[in-house]
Structures are given as C-alpha cells and as structure tokens.
Amino acid sequence: MTAPVIEATDITKTLGAGASQVRALNGVSLALTGGELTLLMGPSGSGKTTLLSILGCMLTPTSGEVRILGRSIAGAPPGQLAELRRDHIGFIFQNYHLLPTLSALDNVRLALDVRGEPAGTALAKAKDVLATVGLSHKINAFPRQLSGGEQQRVAIARAIVGDASAILADEPTGALDSENGHAVMLLLSRIARDTNRGVLVVTHDPRALPFADRIIHMEDGRILNEEYSTTINGKRDWFDTATSFRRPKVTAGDEADWQPAHEAMSYAPAAK
C-alpha cells in the first residue's frame, strides 16, 4: 500500500476567541495518497478551506497531528512550515493568484526561484511544464493577456513545476466556464494518475465528480462520509464505505468521454 503524502489525524481547529469562538474542525482524519484525486465537498462554512489550510501547512491545528511524507509538523516554526510548502506542496487557487507583473514563464519559474534553483535550470523546467499544460505558445504572455482557463493552467504549472508530492486546489474551476473547467479537472486528474501525486480539490461544483477517485463530504467541521470510485463493466461508480450507498451516476473510464447523467451537471467536452 502507498504511504500517504499528507496524513491528518483527529484534527480540531478553533478560530476566534471568547464569545465569537468557533470550532471550525472537529476530529477530522484524512490521508492523501499519491496517484489519487480526492474531492473535498461540502456547504460553505463546513471547514473545507480551514482543513485545506492546515493540510497545506498554512495553519496549525488546535489539536491533532499532521504528517507530511511521514514527518510530523507539530511545533514546526513558520519558517519550517514555509519550507514544507515550498518543497512538498503545490497550491492552486480559485482566483489563480498569479503575479500580474510577471509573464507566464516567470510566474512558473517563481516557484523554483523561491527554492533557490539556478535561473537556467528553472527557466528550462518552467518551459517544459508550460508545454505540458499546453501553454508553450503563451510563455511570454502576462496574466491580463490570458483567459481564465489559461491563467489557471499557468497556476497548475506553477504548482507542479517543483515536483511537489501533493497538490491542494481550492475551487480551481470556480471562476471558469464549462469548457475551461473540464480542461482543468482533466489536467488535475492526469497529474494525479500520471505523476503519482496526491491531488486534493476543494469544490462546490458537482461537475467535478467524474474526475474523482474519492469524494469526501464535510459538514459542520466533520467528515460526513467518503465515497470511493470503482469501475464496473467499464463504468465508474461510487461506493460509500460507511453506508454502502451506491451513487446512481455512471461514467466511462476515461473522463474525456464522460457523458453526464443530466446536462445541468456537465462540463462541455474538452476542446480538441
């Protein structure tokens, strides 16, 4: 069995103080494994982003333990947490968060520059990764010259260029139309499958479901249930481990060929 890339055990997180104190997470345990794309779903305020921040070493839990590649981050100072983020975790944000004054190439190169990679190597790697996400023709474009989908692909390139073991994505399709949303999810699922990275996607968007190997549902700071995909007769199926509930949604093995159960929940096919 593959060791988890990120493992959280019995995490609680209390935010605020006094009368306004809120328990954002309450005993959450979760393991993110390489080669797997996990969707973290739930209503607003359910604790998804707080959990993502803790898994991404941006917040420290009130109690419980987080391990990155088996190493506990308990008591790690901010500088060490920054090193863990830099070396092991790639981030993708809903609003891309590219530096508007840098070209696509420099935005990707930045992730290597903060790690101290020599400029020549960093440039070559950044170009390669931009080619992987289909943007080799836009390396000199600035974010304002790119569409939302292209900006998100640059952000994905930035997340993966440093060979991070885990990719944490916060609503990566939230600002995108169907076509671009599909392209981004397809890219993320391929990153998980082809590069053996653990990919965790926080989303409200049910159209992302077909790309997931696992779906975690959260509510009120707790994990309600987890569903794992399985393929039966060439169709992808979802199986709730807690309730044995089988989601009545069937997809083909290849997400590109996915035909949605009903149109309102679908992404348009990827542009050829």
């Binding site: 991404g56 975790i89 968060h97 530096l99 004054t101 903060v114 101290g116 400029a119 960093a122």
Partner: protein, 385 residues
Amino acid sequence: MKARPTMSTSLIIKIASRNLLQDRLRFIATIVGIVFSIVLVNIQMGLFLSFERMVTTMIDHAPADLWIVPFGTKCFEDPSLLDAQDRTKALAVPGVSQATPVMIGFSEWTVPNGGTTPVFVIGSDESGAGLHPWNVTQGDTASLSSPNAVAVDATYFGRLGITKLGDTTEIRGQKARISEITDGIRSFTTTPYVFAPLARAQAYMGTPPGKVSYLLVNLAPNTDIAAVRNQLQTKLSKVEVLTPDEFRNRSRNFWLFGTGAGAALFAGALLGAIVGTVIIAQTLYSSTKDHLNEFATLRAIGSSNLYINKIIISQAVLSAVIGFAVAAGIGLIVVGMTARTALPIVMTPELTGGLFLLTVLMCVTSSVAAVVQVVRIDPARVFRQ
C-alpha cells in the same frame, strides 16, 4: 543536509522594479520625495562645507608655522590685540626666522555712489611672509606698496560700488585705490575683505599705536616646532601659541558650533532626511499594501521572509538609486549656479558618496514598515481573496 538555497537576484529585481512602476504616479511621488529630501540635505551640507572652508580661509592661506594670538582668541575675526613688542621677543627665540605682524578688523567703506558698507580689513607687511591676497587676477602684490593701494575681490564689486582697477574711494575717511583684484576670496559673513599694507590697515581701522592682531611665526629649517612653541609660550605673556591646525579648529568650532550656525545647517539637513524618510516610507508602505495578495501568494508557495524582504528592500534601493541620480543632477546645477556668488555651495566626492549612502539608508529604513507588514501576512489569506 540540504544546501541553503541561493536566490535569483534577477527575478527579485524584476518583481521589485515592476511593483514600483506599476503605479507610475506613486513612483513619481516617491522619486520627488527622495529628490526634494536629498537636494535639501545636499544644499545644507554644501553650505556647511562652504562655511567650514570660508571660516578658515585666511588661516589656510597664511604661510605660518605657528600663530601667536592674544590669549583667549576664539576665531580669526576676534578683535583682541597683541602688543607689537612681542614681535621682538619672538624673534629672539632660537629657531624663529620671521615673526610677521598681521592686523585685522572691521572698517567702513564709502560707496562711491553714496552710502557706506562695512568691510573687513586685513593688513600685513607686504615684504614679509604675511597674509597677502591670493588668486590675483588684476594688478600684482607689489602694487600694494603704492600710496593708498588696496586689494578687493571681484565678487564684491557691486557691494563696494566699484567696477575696475584704479577706482578710488575712502575707508574710514582715508583714501583708498583699487590696485589689485582677486577672484574667489569670499567672506562667510558676506562682508568684503580688503587687503592693505600693515600701517595703512591700522590707519583704516584706527588701531591704537603699538598693537597688532597676530604674529605669524616662520621657523628656520630643521627646527623642533614643539620646542620653539614652548619657548615662545614661556617668553610671551597674555598670548597663546597655536599651530595652524589648532587655530583652524578653534575658528571652525567657534563659528560652526559656538554660534549655532553649523547646528542650524545640520538641523536643516536632518529635517530633510526625516521628511524624505517619511515620504518614502509612506509610498513604500502603500505600494506594499497594494501588493499584499501577491506577497501572500509568495508566502503560500513557500518563499522565505528573506526572499520577500529582498523584494521590498530592492524596491527601496531602486528608488534610492533613481532618486539619487536625479537629486545629484539637480545638486550639480545648484552648485554651478552658486559658484560665483558670495555663498557658494560646495560639492565634494565625499559629500556625494555620503549623500548616496544617506539615500540608500533612508530608503531601506523606510522599507521597515512595509517589511513588518509583509512578515505578518497570513499566507492562508490567498484562500479568502
């Protein structure tokens, strides 16, 4: 053990320069703040240097090994007087080859077109190693021997109401004729200097008989200056025997610090530096605030505080370099414009270097508020924006 990362300066500078130039108006405000501040400091310090040179200019140009001055003399312009007979006693000290009397003091110059103006008269034996005019552009030192001959500086022609060599006037009711013209002998009091032979100078000032201001002592070759000084001090009463450096420092300290003039110039310079620092701090802080999301992104992707601080400090240093270049250009123009005035502003390589360091220091100090702000950014804010 993992090697410590080395950073790419080029990307840091690229981010810093583009952050600066993204808001052109704010960038211009930053540069204007730096330029005003540095030009103000430049002028104040240039005046200080000019003042410092001018208060010792007579001492600098007197060919003396030792100065015999009245006891308690505070500066070259001090009106205290010596007994002229001290010259004979000084010459009796072994090793003293010359003791040249010098007379200084204020007098009243009659402006040919009407009215009077104060002048500072310097009298010295024209034949000895006394205090003679220098930078002579018209006439010659020998011409001072002719009746009523005086030397003045061309800078003060307007004030003195004269236009050329040979013009005549009166000093304290006694005739004077311009027989020498100098260039650049300016007084920090803006009172024109008038050079004359010793006896005539005494007459212009109405000095009591048998009195002089100073004795300039010249020593024979290979004489022990300290020994001669001790002997002079022992033999002469109510006098002090000073080296040129000691007299220079005494004059400088009196005028620059005893009168508060130097402190006022320093205070002006300090004020300029403080105002500049505040302006730059404000613009850098607001620039950083506008780019908080970008700095939060950098923190989220794992950049160290050092990396981010380097970006902010690079912004400060870039502002400093550009601001200094403009300020130095303006400073050179100001120096050029004041070169021929009564109070020229002096620019030296040391002052230029010092101003550059001050500019960088001001800008880097200004970045502290921005650095503190960035260090406190919560990287998780990227999920909320």
